[in-house]
Symmetry: C2
Subunit: 346 residues, 2 copies
Amino acid sequence: MKKKNITFNDIAEYTHFSKTTISRYFNDPDSLTLENQEIIAKALADLDYRENKVARILANGNTEFIGIIIPNLFLHYYAEMLNQILATYETFGYKFLVFVGNGQEETERRYIDELLSYKIEGLIILTHTIPSNELAELNIPIVTIEREDKYVCSVNTDNYMGGYQATSLLANHDCDVIIHINYINSPANPDVPAYGRVQGFLDFCKEHHIKHELILKEMGNTYESIKNHLTDILNVITEKYSGLKKGLFISNDTQANILVNLIIRKYGKLPDDFFLVGFDNSPISQEAVISISTIGQQIDKLAYEAIKLLVEQMAERKKRKPKPLEKPIHKVITPILFRRETTEKY
Amino acid sequence: MKKKNITFNDIAEYTHFSKTTISRYFNDPDSLTLENQEIIAKALADLDYRENKVARILANGNTEFIGIIIPNLFLHYYAEMLNQILATYETFGYKFLVFVGNGQEETERRYIDELLSYKIEGLIILTHTIPSNELAELNIPIVTIEREDKYVCSVNTDNYMGGYQATSLLANHDCDVIIHINYINSPANPDVPAYGRVQGFLDFCKEHHIKHELILKEMGNTYESIKNHLTDILNVITEKYSGLKKGLFISNDTQANILVNLIIRKYGKLPDDFFLVGFDNSPISQEAVISISTIGQQIDKLAYEAIKLLVEQMAERKKRKPKPLEKPIHKVITPILFRRETTEKY
């Protein structure tokens, strides 16, 4: 019959080391010889010792917790991002306390308080609600992903390049007019990384003197609402640019798929004068009735670089004389173009 | 300038209560009068006290942590399930430590060890790898969702009813043959809840003397692999049941959507002799080029009931004389039929 709770006393007795030595094994193992480390490790296995990390935290103050606040898990982009963040456990060993935000500043402040009370060592923020100057005042390592990040470290896709690539692909198919449909509701909020997609689109069109239109439309979060908005947009575009070769650049694949389906239901196929590019490389872009060309975000890289940047800051804090960052670090990850049937035709 | 760490001493001094009283406020607040509770609460706000839950855990042993191991976040079903589980924080106040499994027993055992070392109070398991008799031996409250659950508590969809409903809907459209395509690879593993879908299908067909075929096929996890398998199945069915009205019951909406797209690409529309029902009510069932009739799992209820069942067990453990469960509790949630264009036609 195994004893239920193995204590440092039991390990000391079993190994004939002092309790202080056992304690050093857990808190500063390299202060022991390799041989003694091995003796203790073997004893732990023999005794079936189960580590109590809560007790250890009190000893050295390191919880190995990272807090995450993510806007939702409905959009595949966020689900896959969380997936990739959690997968970094295998590399960095940090455990994740996860909250799903709800767009209310007060609720998300409450989540942050709860996380801080558990002595998290760092924080990953994907929600848009709390401004970065307020986040910076929390005074713990923070990395944001694809949100306003003026006062905190961040990792973002190179959205400008993505917008430029998408527009360039449509131009290569000799589109007479290129239309960008984006869900951003404010036309001039360059603090939001996704705005780079708009800028990349505009710059390419201006540089190459291409007729273009920018449609900014908050479409809501339900399928019905998005479908109704896109139906209206499709009707307007079809009439307005009748006889012209139309290139459509849609700022996410969920909406691109809904638009493709509307076109297919209207015409039975993608007409020769329609070309379409989405954004994100979500699974739906591949699984759509006509596979959708898209600008792929490297979600695995975004997640890995975010945690790496966070771990570096957390490690700095543990030094005897930590050097605070002079200014926030902003890393940028290159997007990848996927050519599929909505531009290459089938 | 605020003092960085407010201690019980500081609060005692400020309120003129003893440190013991302050400690009772945190660990057994109802032992104080409501008036004294309010005085201390006000002092905490005045002093900008930030609770240290790690210290509190050492005092009363309650981490308020629940561990989760989920197979992936790629399938919308799991992403939405995690979303709904995390949302129960607002009701029950438990915090979640989340791991994504990888189908390897050894890895998942490591995740469980890690979770136990943080003194989680309970565990939610959605992965299929570790058998329930082994989970039961961990000797902490556990609830599983939609997996083998013989020796542990669980919450599952009534899959039998779902299979029966789907088949019944196809029968109501006078299908001459009903075909069930399921990704379960073993034809006789009634321990897996999803097998109930197969049984409901078989029972309905036998009771109503309907010609039927059961196709069990492990199709892999990539779009290409699923598409290739479904292309073959579609070709075989089309030839074998030529001239007959065919009812197809597919065991998840991701695959149902891929099959619908293959049919649309082959015929330009859903032919009059094809009827189709999916399972899950994933967003894709609504956003497909033809909206897909489906059996909806009530993921919000599944998640809520799972946490409720777990919290009940955790509360029992905290009693002076906890009564262990005589046998595992298995809760069942009713599915909901959604009639859409793949059966009602458009």
